[in-house]
Symmetry: C2
Subunit: 103 residues, 2 copies
């Protein structure tokens, strides 16, 4: 269940901000760090966690390293919440129906 590692990774606000910044396309580490209140090494560490969670992939380009969103893992995460929502809503409606009938 890779989505579990992904959820662990996205629990951190800084990491989530970094990840959200990659939604529109790949970016380099230094670029990301400039817009954040943390140092570049900190961003580097966060990117490693995101990478190990399967949320991003890395590509070297000269001295730079471009990180981008991995759509596969993101898709799994989407499916996870999609299923969760469907199931929870069904249970919620069933409970409301029971309450209506029985009081």
């Amino acid at each position: 269940m890779p989505y579990r590692d992904a959820m662990d990774a996205l629990g951190d606000r800084t990491r989530r901000t970094i990840f959200e910044g990659l939604r529109s396309g790949p970016r380099a580490v230094g670029e990301i760090a400039e817009e954040l209140p943390v140092s570049r090494p900190a961003v580097s560490q966060h990117l490693r966690v995101l990478k190990e969670a399967g949320l991003v992939t890395e590509r070297r380009e000269g001295t730079r390293r471009l990180y981008r969103v991995d759509p596969d893992t993101l898709g799994e995460l989407r499916d996870y919440f999609d299923d969760f929502w469907s199931e929870a809503l069904a249970a919620f409606k069933a409970a409301a129906e029971d309450e209506r009938r029985n009081g």
Copy 2:
């Protein structure tokens, strides 16, 4: 943006397990704690965090307290990842197309 608090809350594995256990219907605190390797007070604390994040609601029933999933916040979370996935996939395809054309 309530989904932000929700993501913070679901970053913890124990809390996520508790939340997933509620997908099929409401349950009491003691019931949940019995199936987990942590104490009941620990579960109680986790439920408070989930409640503050808007992920669950509470209802008293005698001496017990029943917790259930709040489908609204869960729905926001689902939409968040749905939009994220769509946007990231579009960016991914556009980048792949560029690479195909330009080399």
